[in-house]
Structure formats: C-alpha cells, structure tokens
C-alpha cells in the first residue's frame, strides 16, 4: 500500500507491504543501514529510532503505522554533518570514552542517549542507566557508555569546555 513517511526530515510516498516492520523498511527500502536488527522482539534496543521525540524500537512498529510521525534514525541525528564525517557532541563523547566495542548496539545506544539528553540536560549516572536500560550491550558492561553520556551532558551544558 502507498503511504507517506517522514524520515530524517524527508517526506516521501512509499509503496510498502502492510506487514513490513519499520525496521525492515528503514534498512531494506530506505537503505539506511545504521539501524540494526538484534532480537526483533523488542528487547535488545539495537533498532532504536526517534519517533516523535521518543526512543522507540523500530522492530515493534509496522511501517504503515508510522504515517504522520516524525522519524529520525542514527543517520539523521547529525544530518547537517552526516556527509562530512563530523560528529555531534554526543557521538564525539562516545568516541572519547570508547563507549562501545563491536559497534552493533551503538546506534541504538546513541539514539537513546540523544533522547535522554533532549529531555534532561543534567542527568545522574542512575538516570543514564535507566535511559539505556532498554539497550543491550554485550561488549562493554555499560560503564564506558555511561561515562560517554555523562561526558556529553557536561559538554552540552557548558560545564566542561575542555
């Protein structure tokens, strides 16, 4: 069926199967490969996107359900700089603290952190842990991910200008 979707601030009409998940649509139709499939049953968070400002698992949403929603994927969170390779403050902090290893859960993790920081510019470590508790990382034990998000919060609020 034909639907109009708004992905990364680009509104277009697409012809999709009604049973297609938003995750598969983003990956296979849009060819945006930064959103990853992990469990496809809503637990691991690797497929997390921003839907109307909230962190949402794209494997649990059908593409046809997302009509009228504003969808941002990992490729869209720093859209202006995406092609130049420049990082936003949060992405940069993930690199600084090495808040990842294999990189598979990372886009989902960055998205969850982005949503947290958009709502709470000065989170505690506990609040960060809560915000990423729906994102499984098998590599890091989360410690350096929490470090990265705390660092980003500090830098974004101007408390750390180093």
């Amino acid at each position: 069926m034909k639907i109009e979707l708004n992905i990364n601030n680009s509104i277009k009409v697409y012809d999709v199967e009604p049973r297609l998940t938003l995750l598969d649509f983003i990956r296979d139709e849009m060819k945006l490969k930064g959103t990853h499939a992990g469990c496809e049953h809503g637990v691991c968070g690797a497929c997390t996107i921003i839907l109307n400002g909230e962190a949402v698992r794209s494997c649990m949403v059908l593409a046809v359900q997302a009509v009228g929603d504003e969808i941002i994927t990992i490729e869209g969170i720093n859209a202006k700089e995406e092609r130049t390779g420049e990082l936003n403050v949060l992405q940069d902090a993930f690199c600084e603290a090495h808040g990842m290893q294999c990189g598979y859960c990372t886009p989902g993790m960055v998205i969850s952190a982005e949503v947290l920081l958009s709502k709470n510019s000065n989170p505690t470590r506990e609040e960060v842990r809560e915000a990423i508790s729906g994102n499984i990382c098998r590599c890091t034990g989360y410690v350096q991910i929490v470090d990265a998000i705390m660092l980003a919060a500090e830098r974004l609020s101007g408390r750390n200008r180093k």
């Binding site: 990853h36 992990g38 490729e75 090495h98 990189g103 960055v110 890091t140 034990g141 410690v143």
Partner: protein
C-alpha cells in the same frame, strides 16, 4: 623492546574504529546488498531426536518467489562433513540434518526465495514426516550403557575421554592432612552477541571464485569452506572488512556458510542467510560449555593445598563442534594461580540431544576457574580459615616466575600479591567485612565474593595435539604486512575480521610507536583471505600478543631497512646512526630525512646499497612465543602469557525476593603492558558483565522433552545497565618477558573470574543459614525458594 616511556603505547588514544560506529556507518554483514541476491529461511525440526521419513516441499516450490528447497540429503551428496579436529570420523555433521535430527531446532531444509519473508512463508508449506526416537539430555545419563546413542555409528556418546596424571597425586593425597570433595555445575550459556550470525555467499562462475561476507571469528575459515565444498582454498575469498557485531568466540557459522555457499554455486546467485534470534538461540550451534565437575582437593591443616583430582564432564550437544577442545585449554592453567603440585584430570565430553557448542570466551577456562575457586572457598570454610589467608598461602609468589605447573605450562610472570594489595588499598578488607556484617544486622543477606584467577593468553592451539594425537598442530601464527608508499604514507594490512577488539587501533598504535609517526595517519587495510598472509583470527586472547607482535616485528624490519639506506648514504655504520621520527641522524650532524629515504627507496635504486630491493615494505608471520612443541608424556606448554585478575565483590539481597544487589565490585587486573587503556578496561568491564550473566541469569534451559525453553531475550536474560554495577578496576602491570612490549592478553578478562566471585558472594551471604549453591546460574528464584523451604 626496552623502553618505559612510549609515545602512543599505553596512552589514551581514541580507538580509530569508533567513528564509523557512532554514526551508523559500520559494515556489518546484514548491510551487504548484492545484485540479484536471494534469501534463505530454515525449516527446523521440533523433535530432539527423530528419523526423517519424508520431506514434501512441492507446495512450497509452487509459491511465487520461491526458487529452491535444499535438503540435507542433497547437501550431503555434494559436500564433505564439517571438520571438528577430533578423531571421530563417524560423528558426521552437515549444515542440514541428514536422515536424522539430533536436537530440537536442528535445520532440516533451506528454502531459497526472493525475500526472506517469502522464504519463511514457504517454510510453513513444507510437510515434514518424522519418527520419534529416544533421546538423552543429561551428560551423566549419556554415559550409561543403556543410553540412547546420538550417533549410532560412533558406537557411544563419548567424544573424548582422556585421563591425565601430572605429578605424584597418590603421594600428595597420602601425605595431606585432609581432603574434601565437591561437585559444581556450570550451566549451559553462551556469549549471545546482539548481532546474530549472518553470511552472504556469491559464486562467481567466470572467475571460479566464491566470495564470502560473514560475521565470522574463526581460524582457518576459508580453508574449512574450501575443504568441505571441494574447492581450492584460493577459490574462497572471505572478506575481512566486514565488521562483526560481537562474537566473544561463538561466531563460527561454518554450517551456515557452507549452506549459503553451496546454494550460491548451485543457483549462480548471491545468497544471504541471516539468522533470526530464534535460529540463533536454538540452532545457531553457538551454545557454550555445560559442565559438571567432581573435584577432590588434598590439603594440610595449615591450609597448604597439595593436590587436586578433577573430573570434568562436558555436555557437548548433538555434534562435536569445538566443545571437546574446551576441556583442553584449561589444562594450561589447571592449578590457577596456586602452587598445587599435582593434578589428576579426567576430561570427558559426551554427545546429547541438545544444540551444538561453539567456542565461548575463555574456551572453557571460566568454568574451570569457577570449579577451582569454589574449592578454595570450601577449604577455607572447612579449616575455619579466612578465605584471603588461604589464598595468600597458596598463591605463586612473584619470585617464583617463570613457574612451571604440573601439566607442563610455564607461567611467564606475575605479581599476584601486589595486585591484591592494591585492591585492598582501594577497598579495605576489614572494612568490607564490617560493611557486610552491618548489612546482615539490618536483616539483609550479605556476602563477600572473592576470586583470583588467570587468563592464559596468546592463543596457542597445543591442546589440540594433547587431546588428539593425530593432530600435530605446533603453530598458531598471525601476520601483518606494512608498506610505505612513494609519497611516504604508511599502510598496514591485517588479515582477519574484528568483533570489537580494536585491531585497527592496536596495529596503528604499535606501528606508530616503532616508526615514531602519527598513528592516526596510518591506514589499516583488511584484504580478503586470498590476498592475506596466514593468521588464526582473534581467538584465545591473542591479538595484542600476536597481531601486535607481528605489527611490531614488521615495523622493526622497515626501520632496519631505513637505517641501512641511511648508513649507505651517510657513510656510517648502522650502529652509529640514530633513528628519530622517520629521519636518521649521524654522529657528524649529517642526516637523512624521511622524504629522502622515500625518494631513494621508490625512485633511486642507484642510491641504495647493492642488492637491496626497491620499495619499503615488510611483513612478519609470527610464531606464538614459547610455542612449537608437541606434547610429551601427556604434558605440553600451552600459552606464552598469563594475565592475572582478582575480584572482590560485596553483594546483598533481602531474604524474600532475593534480588541480588551488587553493592561494590572491585577488580585488580594485570595484563602486562597495556596497549590501549580504554580498550582494555572496556574488555574487563564487559567480561565482568558477561560473567554476572553467567552467574545469575543466563541459561539455555531444556525441559524434559528436549525443548529449549529460553530461546528469546524474554527468557534468556542478558544483563542490562541495571544488572551491571559500577565497577572499579585497579590496574597493575607485570610485563611479559615473551612479548614485544610486555603485553599479555585481555580479551577474556573479567569473564574468567566474575562467575566465581559472584557465586562466592552469594554463598557467603547464605552461609549463616547453611544454604549453598553449587550450580550456575544462581537465579534469584532458586535462592528465594531455598530460603522459603528452609523456613517451612
């Protein structure tokens, strides 16, 4: 290399891989689209053991978009069985079940279609007729004479039964004041990466080349594919630039790859097979050890442990996989960090009707460490001696290195006492006991967990000849290639995939260190398997030692050539020259710059010493330090390096719900010289998280009917950010004498001791009410039930 102040080694350099991952621009296997690619879905059989009577896929084939259906019979007629390294020719394993299924979920058919969704729809149309057979799930039962036999032609369920006696076990037992016996069980779990296994295979009929993109972490992967498919190895092109979304040992999808490759050759189309989570959990053949230990320790009243008898019985599952060898690696550290002078070890691996095992982080070492550490705690309890006092009495001392253990391995270096001292300087032991006792006074169950253990590293494979005398493996090399191009920039080639270990960072750091150039200006290339030198992939906690070593040695060769060129031009002896940041300086003040050296080597062969080749390139194929010998008298030296870790945990829970709260977690870690601090600390944090999962949450649990009950993330529980506490790492460095910078392995750190430490903490918490758990995972429901039953 004797140098204490490095420019880049041990410095907080940003890992170079990270940028592509934070922006979503990794190159994972599921991201690979090939023109006209077809997709595979799998039909699995739900029975744990059954003969396959009929597979009717005619309706499936008629569906629009369905291209083909492949059965095990077809596959077996065209391919050889998968290899397992053992001498078990009648335990045959193919990608699809042939005539018989041997575990619930085993793959029966592959459906090939234009999309995965169509293939899955078609799978539902296939009629599979089977006859149920008797099955066995328990490893002890599998040993009984009347047990159903998983592979009839093999004659029994025993894949491996080998008894070792190292040292005078008889005398040591006789002279000891006491002995205690205990059983512990390591539950079946695995590393369960967030990315499932996937492969894209594409047969190129014009070049006679099979291209393979896979999320793989497997030694000799392309050789294995070629052997099974009857190709030459130089016809299999495995692309090493695929980012692997976590592995920790298990990403060895050889059965998936053979299947996809076979189909691609048959249909002349690219074939994509990406496991879904159910396939991954149930039938990805990626479970980890499931092990029962019977241990007897002999010791004196003063706490000195003399000898140990250990029987390790591993439930391999339906086919050999790598399971039996995972009983072999722990032989290289069979006494842990302790001075136990003799050991009897019975290694037993049996087939059952469960899913197949693969290599899991530590390759069997974590279960063995858990068995050992449980014994140490129990001896302390028996002697009414403090657990730390007992450990201190038995730990190898820093002046005893190199230390040869009864099974033949030589520990390279260590200073366990200092690591422990540093941990207690950070977390005072007496204060911790007071804190625990205060929690107990306040009505909580509280316990201190302790574990000290080793991480054998350097990835030698000498357990293979030790367990299979027909296997004569004495090298487990790794290689690195360097080139300085005509414009003077440096490219390093590494010959493996990576799954989060930061190999690009490792190699660029080391090449930059030795050539004294900016590591961020070094390009790291990953050629495919045909263009590569030999290597054995990142297994056995080996890449800092082996890839780092090969990169270091190749860099030294380049530096040597540069100095020879300069010596020729400047008219000095090599030994009189000083290399600094790419330029070479002579004692008379003359010098040769990097640009001149590049100019000479690339354009002016007339200026080079006679006989010297043009260009500036080098490579090194590195042998495992201290390796190379076959076993003798059932003993063999295994690993070049031994990292040490000491875990100290305070944990509490209320006696009703029993949800564990890890109140503090401190770990002392010594892996010699650290190449990149944030990579090593990340590994340790992650290993501990993984160990917490193994200790408290994760288990592939089968019901009595042979059905896997934990096959999604809703029931196989992986620690989230709520379950993993803040962890404090106390670092120490005792360099290894055998490696380039003194580095040791760290890829398995944390995981090797965390399960033992958590188990120790829970049992300490329960000790006032005389409850103990000798089986992992210790789920909170089990603890809660045990306390409730006692109160009844």
């Amino acid at each position: 290399m004797e140098k204490s102040n490095y420019n880049f080694v041990s410095k907080n350099r940003r890992p170079v891989e990270d940028k592509r991952f934070v922006t979503g621009h990794g190159n994972f296997v599921a991201d690979i689209d090939r023109p006209d690619m077809l997709h595979v879905a799998i039909l699995a059989c739900h029975e744990p053991s059954a003969s396959i009577d009929e597979i009717d896929f005619s309706a499936a084939l008629k569906m629009k978009g369905v291209i083909d259906v492949i059965t095990g019979k077809e596959l077996a007629s065209a391919t050889k069985p998968l290899m397992n390294g053992l001498d078990t020719p009648n335990v045959k394993r193919y990608s699809l079940a042939v005539e018989q299924v041997r575990y619930a979920g085993e793959w029966v058919c592959a459906i090939v279609a234009k999309s995965r969704a169509i293939a899955e729809d078609a799978a539902e149309k296939i009629l599979l007729k089977t006859t149920s057979l008797k099955f066995v799930l328990d490893s002890e039962k599998a040993l009984l004479p009347k047990s159903p036999i998983v592979h009839e032609n093999h004659g029994s369920n025993i894949l491996l039964e080998k008894k070792f006696v190292w040292g005078d076990v008889f005398q040591d037992f006789k002279k000891s004041d006491h002995q205690i016996s205990y059983n512990v069980n390591w539950g079946r779990n695995s590393t369960v990466p967030v990315e499932t296994f996937g492969v894209v295979a594409e047969w190129n009929a014009w070049k006679n080349i099979l291209d393979v993109w896979a999320s793989i972490q497997m030694p000799k992967f392309s050789d294995h594919i070629a052997f099974v498919l009857g190709l030459r190895a130089n016809q299999v092109r495995v692309h090493y630039d695929v980012d692997v979304g976590g592995s920790y040992g298990v990403k060895r999808g050889i059965k998936h790859t053979i299947l996809a490759s076979y189909i691609s050759r048959k249909l002349h189309r690219p074939i994509r097979l990406i496991e879904d989570r159910l396939e991954n959990m149930r039938s990805g053949d990626a479970h980890g050890p499931e092990r029962k230990f019977d241990v007897t320790m002999a010791f004196d009243s003063d706490g000195i442990i003399h000898s140990m008898k250990m029987r390790a019985l591993d439930n391999a599952g339906a086919y050999a996989g790598r399971a039996p060898f995972q009983l072999g690696k722990p032989i290289g550290a069979i006494v842990g960090p302790y001075t136990i002078s003799s050991v009897e070890y019975l290694a037993l691996s049996v087939t059952t009707n469960k899913a197949v095992q693969e290599a899991v982080r530590g390759f069997g070492q974590a279960p063995t460490n858990y068995a050992l550490e449980t014994g140490i705690d129990r001896i302390a309890n028996f002697l009414k001696m403090d657990r730390m006092e007992l450990r201190q009495k038995n730990l190898i001392k820093s002046n005893q290195f190199p230390y040869i253990i009864p099974s033949g391995s030589e520990y390279d270096s260590g200073d366990y006492q200092t690591v422990i001292k540093k941990v207690f300087a950070s977390k005072n032991y007496k204060e911790l006991i007071k804190e625990r006792d205060l929690l107990r006074k306040n009505g909580l169950m509280a316990g201190i967990g302790i574990a000290s253990c080793l991480e054998p590293s350097g990835g030698n494979s000498s357990f293979e000849p030790l367990l299979n005398s027909k296997n004569k493996t004495t090298t487990w090399m790794e290689s690195c290639q360097l080139n300085i191009d005509a414009s003077g920039t440096v490219t390093a080639r590494i010959h493996t995939t990576s799954s989060g270990q930061g190999h690009e960072t490792l190699v660029s750091t080391i090449v930059g260190e030795i050539l004294e150039i900016d590591p961020d200006e070094i390009c790291i290339a990953r050629p495919n398997s045909i263009e590569s030198l030999p290597g054995n992939s990142p297994v056995g906690s080996r890449m800092a030692i082996m890839l780092g070593g090969a990169a270091g040695k190749a860099s030294k060769k380049l530096k040597e050539k540069i100095i020879i060129i300069a010596a020729h031009k400047l008219g000095f002896k090599k030994s009189e020259l000083i290399y600094q940041k790419g330029s070479v300086f002579a004692p008379d003040g003359s010098s040769m710059s990097w640009d001149e050296i590049i100019e000479f080597s690339h354009r002016r062969i007339d200026q080079l010493p006679d006989g010297m080749d043009p260009g500036l390139a080098s490579f090194d194929i590195m042998q495992v330090p201290t390796g190379g010998n076959l076993p003798k008298d059932d003993k063999v030296h295994m690993y070049p390096c031994y990292s040490f870790e000491f875990h100290l945990v305070l944990l509490s829970f209320d006696p009703i719900i029993c949800k564990p709260n890890i109140r503090s977690y401190t770990v002392g870690h010594d892996c010699g010289t650290v190449i990149n601090p944030s990579i090593v600390s990340g590994m340790t944090y992650g290993g501990i998280a993984h160990g917490i999962g193994a200790a408290l949450l994760e288990e592939f649990a089968y019901d009595d009917n042979g059905q896997l009950m934990t096959q999604s993330f809703l029931d196989y529980l992986i620690p989230s950010s709520h379950e993993v506490p803040e962890i404090k790492i106390i670092k120490h460095s005792t360099p290894s004498p055998h490696t380039f910078f003194g580095q040791k392995g760290s890829g398995e750190s944390g995981y090797l001791g965390a399960p033992a430490a958590i188990s120790s903490a829970i049992n300490d918490a329960l000790s006032p009410i005389n409850i103990s758990f000798l089986s992992l995972p210790i789920r909170m429901s089990l603890v809660s039930d045990a306390i409730a039953n006692q109160n009844e």
